[in-house]
Each structure stands twice: as structure tokens, then as C-alpha cells.
């Protein structure tokens, strides 16, 4: 573990009645999501990383550079970050173009073909018609898109985003998220991404930092934390597990891909795909149903042999089961959420080997990896 490809932070401080005591280390190759309930300190941590808040007891190092530690403190404007604030914070005296180019080096449109070039960002965010507009004449979502574009165009080496998509409709979100992911991949641009939307995190993030009441509950790879029944994620209504898969076959006629993960193979619709390419899939606990026998003649494409590794009661009459893929359950883990009624009807128990049915369309998030 080379310290030069990690972000390491540790912040301790008191704000009125709020005590922050958060420390984590996360790789800079990949997107790190900061997740936790309202008021748990996500924004505060992000501000500390940006240098907007200076704590006496703080440490922050990015790729081996110490930005904050002991007496040394690098001022905000010398940190190569992009920051999307929770509220858009556009400059009211500049047009949209003026805002977009404020932080752009040389302050001119960048070379064409650049994945984060002016035209590309403007087109992706749908800002073409707004360029000469004053910020106060924009809608809420338009403002937030300009703020995202402005941060991207400043050519950051670390992008800090505080719930950037919360004002966007799902369509816009579905366009912006893959773009951010592509940006991350093609520029190797590390992100720290605050969100309260697990769906966004599943699409975008590789690493997760779970926060609660000013503290870090857990930090690690997204899939691991999602599948850990000891963490609160697994018992959430929207519990899901994200897996990395390899495309093992593709049928362009039907747009269906075979996605191999450890211990099994999923079938999923996919527009285009290259055999051997990597894909991320998310399996929602609520989308997984269990059957003693493999069913026939159904539109459910995915029926996989699994083994129940553990089972935890969730809510009042529900059970969350951790399933190991493959007949012996030795492969990747996914979660299944079933009613206690079904559980007892089928006489399910830990160690059982059975079939998991997963509706294919619920599987893939359109994010190139």
C-alpha cells in the first residue's frame, strides 16, 4: 500500500454541540462515497478536506502530499480540488459562461476532444441554451448543473462533491452519473462524493465511508460494506450488493450479456458490450427471491444456485439472508430479503442450498468500468 495513492484524513473538533471525530483512508484510484444520515458531518468532513474549515486537530494527506498536519496548512486556493457545494453558490454577477470559466486554466475553452473540455461539459450538462443567462434566471436544477460544470472545468486533481445531483431529475441524473464515472476513469480523477442516495452511490462509487453522528462507522470497498449484515446498510429497505463482473458472452441480437462473477453468472440486457470487458452489477436484496427448485418458463433470466450463509431478522416480519453464490456458497455474496412467512413456509435455514431468482432488468447500472 503505497501512501502516494491514498487520501488519508483525520479530523477532530467541536462545533457547538456537534463533535466531529472522523478518520479514514481511502484509495485515490476510484470514487469514494461519503454516506450517512442528515447532520452526521459529511459536509463538515468535505470542508475540512478542502481547507475551508481549519481544525486545530486535523490531518489530511492526498497522494502523499500533506495538506494539513501539525502546524502546516495549505490554503484552499493552493489545493488542486474541485468542490461542488451542497447549494449551487453561483457567482451572481457572472453569466453562466463566466461561472463555468471562472476556474478554468487560461479561462478559455479547452482543446476539443478533451473529455472535460468546455463543449463536452456544456453539452453533457445541457447548458447550451443557458450560456449567456444570469444565474438568478435559472431553475434550481439548472443552477446545480452549472455548479458541477464549473468545478469540472477547473481541472481539479481531486473532486469533492456534496450531494451534487439532489436537485436533478432522474433522467438528468442518469446522464450525469455515467459521465462522472467516465471522467473519473479517463482522467484517473479521484472523487469524494457525498450522497444520501444509495442508487447514486452504487452507480458511481468504489469505496464507501459510512458516517454516523460525527464518526466513521466503517470504510472500505463498497460491495463489502453493503453485504456486511453487521452494518446498518444490510437491513435497509433498499439494501443491495454491488459486484464486479466480467462479460463472458454477448448476444447483440437481443442485447443480452452473460456476466461472470465469482461463483456464478448473471444474464442482463446491455446495449453494447465487449467480451472480456468489466461491468458493475448491483443486486438489490428486494429483487432476490428464493426457490427450492429451479423454475421453468419465466421471464426471470437469472436463476443461480446459492447457499444461505447467514440470516438476520430485519424489520418486524422480514429476514435478510446473506447468500453465497455457487452450490457451496463459496462465491460472491449477495443479500436476499424475504418475508418471515415465506421463510417458514419454505423451511429455510442457514446452510440451505437453493436457487435465487433475480429479474435481469434490475441488474445492471449503465456505468462503464
Amino acid at each position: 500500500m503505497n501512501p502516494s495513492s491514498f487520501i488519508s484524513v483525520a479530523f477532530r473538533g467541536v462545533f457547538g454541540g456537534f463533535v466531529l471525530d472522523a478518520a479514514f483512508t481511502t484509495p485515490t484510484h476510484g470514487v469514494t462515497a461519503l454516506f450517512g444520515p442528515s447532520g452526521c458531518g459529511k459536509t463538515t468532513v468535505l470542508r475540512c478536506i478542502a481547507g475551508l474549515q481549519r481544525l486545530a486537530d486535523g490531518y489530511c494527506a492526498v497522494n502523499g502530499d500533506v495538506w494539513h498536519g501539525g502546524r502546516s496548512f495549505r490554503p484552499v486556493h493552493q489545493r488542486p480540488i474541485g468542490y461542488v457545494f451542497q447549494e449551487p453558490g453561483l457567482f451572481p454577477h457572472l453569466t453562466v459562461t463566466g461561472n463555468l470559466l471562472y476556474g478554468a486554466p487560461g479561462r478559455s475553452p479547452l482543446r476539443p476532444g478533451d473529455p472535460a473540455g468546455f463543449d463536452e461539459v456544456v453539452a453533457l450538462l445541457g447548458l447550451e441554451k443557458l450560456l449567456d443567462r444570469a444565474p438568478r434566471k435559472l431553475s434550481g436544477g439548472e443552477r446545480q448543473r452549472v455548479a458541477i460544470g464549473r468545478a469540472l472545468l477547473s481541472r481539479p486533481q481531486l473532486l469533492l462533491m456534496d450531494e451534487p445531483l439532489s436537485a436533478l431529475d432522474p433522467q438528468a441524473r442518469d446522464e450525469v452519473l455515467p459521465f462522472l464515472r467516465r471522467l473519473h476513469d479517463s482522467l484517473s480523477l479521484p472523487f469524494i462524493y457525498v450522497s444520501h442516495d444509495m442508487r447514486e452511490i452504487e452507480q458511481l462509487a468504489d469505496h464507501l465511508v459510512l458516517m454516523r453522528a460525527g464518526r466513521v462507522l466503517a470504510a472500505g470497498p463498497l460491495g463489502e460494506l453493503q453485504g456486511d449484515p453487521a452494518l446498518p446498510l444490510a437491513s435497509r429497505r433498499d439494501a443491495a450488493v454491488t459486484l464486479d463482473a466480467v462479460v463472458s458472452a454477448y448476444d447483440p441480437a437481443y442485447g443480452i450479456a452473460m456476466l461472470a462473477v465469482d461463483g456464478g453468472c448473471f444474464t442482463a440486457p446491455m446495449r453494447r458490450s465487449v467480451v472480456g470487458g468489466r461491468r458493475r452489477i448491483t443486486v438489490a436484496a428486494g429483487d432476490v427471491s428464493l426457490a427450492r427448485e429451479a423454475p421453468r418458463a419465466t421471464t426471470v433470466l437469472n436463476t443461480l444456485p446459492v447457499r444461505i450463509l447467514s440470516a438476520t431478522p430485519a424489520a418486524e416480519h422480514e429476514i435478510v439472508a446473506v447468500l453465497g453464490l455457487g452450490p457451496a456458497g463459496a462465491g460472491s455474496r449477495i443479500l436476499a430479503r424475504v418475508t418471515r412467512l415465506s421463510w417458514e413456509n419454505l423451511r429455510l435455514a442457514e446452510g440451505n442450498e437453493l436457487y435465487a431468482q433475480i429479474k435481469s432488468v434490475a441488474l445492471v447500472r449503465e456505468c462503464a468500468k
Partner: protein
């Protein structure tokens, strides 16, 4: 107007020059001071703010007297004047500028300070995250957003400099062509009860100042509107 002696036009030129230069210097001096007052967390800053307002409290002749002493041979002004062989900065155009600046400073500092404070932290933080240096943040964000304060400061400073004559009379000495500005010229007419002439001059001053102030305010408004 043709009844007015030609040296009135010299006074007009002097006045316009004095008001323009003073306003310029007021903005140059007042802006950093206002910025400091708006941003510092020093507990004594309100003390500094109060000190800036103090020249206002002094009757102009008293202030004029202190300035006369300060600018004179025994004060720092004399030392400065000695550099080019003078004995005093009083009774010079430069002396008038110094006096006017000190007297009108609070009218400029306070509105600009308020405008800086009204901006709030967020735009400055945003600019810093876009890697704008403090200098760039100041010029490209703080100053444009504080424009109403600058307008008010400039207008009050300008108008007060045009009208003020107590200090100017004291440290200027009413010398035609060098320190006899319009307000002092009017004072002369007033002293000799030439009310007709005084009123013509005063009316001209008001019209001129009105045009300048009105134009500045309109222009400021216009500039404040970002291109549609």
C-alpha cells in the same frame, strides 16, 4: 453667467479636480480598510471603525487647525514638503486633498465595509475552491459584488468634498488658482452678501453634482445587471 468673473472658472476647475482626485484616493484608501474591517476577527476592529468616524465629530475648523499644524513646518507635512524644498503642505492643492480625504473617509469606508460584509462567506469560498488567489478573489468576486457600497461611498465622498469648505478654507488659505475651490469662492460671495452670484454658483454646483451623481448611480445600476 457672464456676470461671474473669469476666476470663477479657475475655481470650478480646481473643485472638479479636487473632488475627482479625492474620491479616487478615498476609494483607494477606503477599500483596503473596509475589506480589513469586514474580514478581520480582531476584537478591536470596531475601535478602528470608530476612529475612522472621528474626524466627522470635530468641527471643520478644529479639524482644519489640527491638519494645519500636522501639515505645517513642525509636523510631518513639513518634513515631507522639505523633500522638494517646501516648508509646509498646507496652502497647497496636495494639502487640500489630504484634508478632504481624512474628512470624508468614513463616508466611504462604512458603506463599502457593509457591502463587503453583505456578500457573505460563500462566494469567497467558492472562488477559493476554484483556485483563485486571495487577490483574484478580491478583485473578481468581492469588489464586483460590493458595487452598491462603492457607488454609495463614491457619491457621498464626492458630494461631501465638493461641498465642504471649513477644512478647505482653514488649510487652503483661499488662494486663487491653487486652493480657492468653488465652495470657498461661494463663501466669499456670501461674506459680501452677493447672494445673486452665490446662488448662481451654488445652483451650478448642485446641477453639476446632480448630473455626476445621477450618472454614476445609473451607470452603477446598469453595470450591476449581468448580460441577459
Amino acid at each position: 453667467m457672464n456676470e461671474l468673473p473669469p476666476d470663477v472658472w479657475i475655481a470650478v476647475r480646481l473643485t472638479v479636480g479636487l473632488a475627482a482626485i479625492t474620491t479616487l484616493i478615498l476609494l483607494l484608501v477606503g477599500t483596503p480598510l473596509a475589506w480589513w474591517l469586514a474580514r478581520t476577527e480582531a476584537w478591536w476592529k470596531e475601535g478602528v471603525a470608530a476612529v475612522v468616524a472621528m474626524p466627522l465629530v470635530l468641527p471643520p475648523t478644529v479639524l482644519g487647525f489640527y491638519l494645519l499644524v500636522a501639515l505645517g513646518p513642525d509636523g510631518p507635512g513639513g518634513a515631507i514638503a522639505a523633500l522638494w524644498g517646501g516648508r509646509t503642505l498646507a496652502f497647497t492643492f496636495g494639502g487640500l486633498v489630504i484634508g478632504s480625504v481624512i474628512y470624508s473617509l468614513p463616508f466611504v469606508v462604512q458603506p463599502i465595509r457593509n457591502a463587503f460584509e453583505a456578500i457573505g462567506e460563500r462566494p469567497l469560498e467558492v472562488a477559493a475552491t476554484l483556485r483563485a488567489s486571495p487577490r483574484r478573489v478580491f478583485w473578481t468576486v468581492a469588489v464586483p459584488l460590493a458595487r452598491p457600497g462603492f457607488l454609495t461611498g463614491a457619491v457621498l465622498g464626492f458630494a461631501h468634498t465638493v461641498g465642504e469648505f471649513g477644512v478647505v478654507l482653514m488649510i487652503g488659505g483661499n488662494i486663487p488658482g491653487s486652493t480657492r475651490v468653488l465652495s470657498v469662492a461661494i463663501y466669499d460671495y456670501v461674506e459680501t452678501s452677493q447672494w445673486r452670484e452665490a446662488s448662481i454658483l451654488a445652483g451650478g454646483m448642485v446641477v453639476f453634482a446632480f448630473v455626476v451623481v445621477f450618472a454614476v448611480m445609473l451607470a452603477g445600476k446598469r453595470l450591476m445587471r449581468v448580460a441577459e
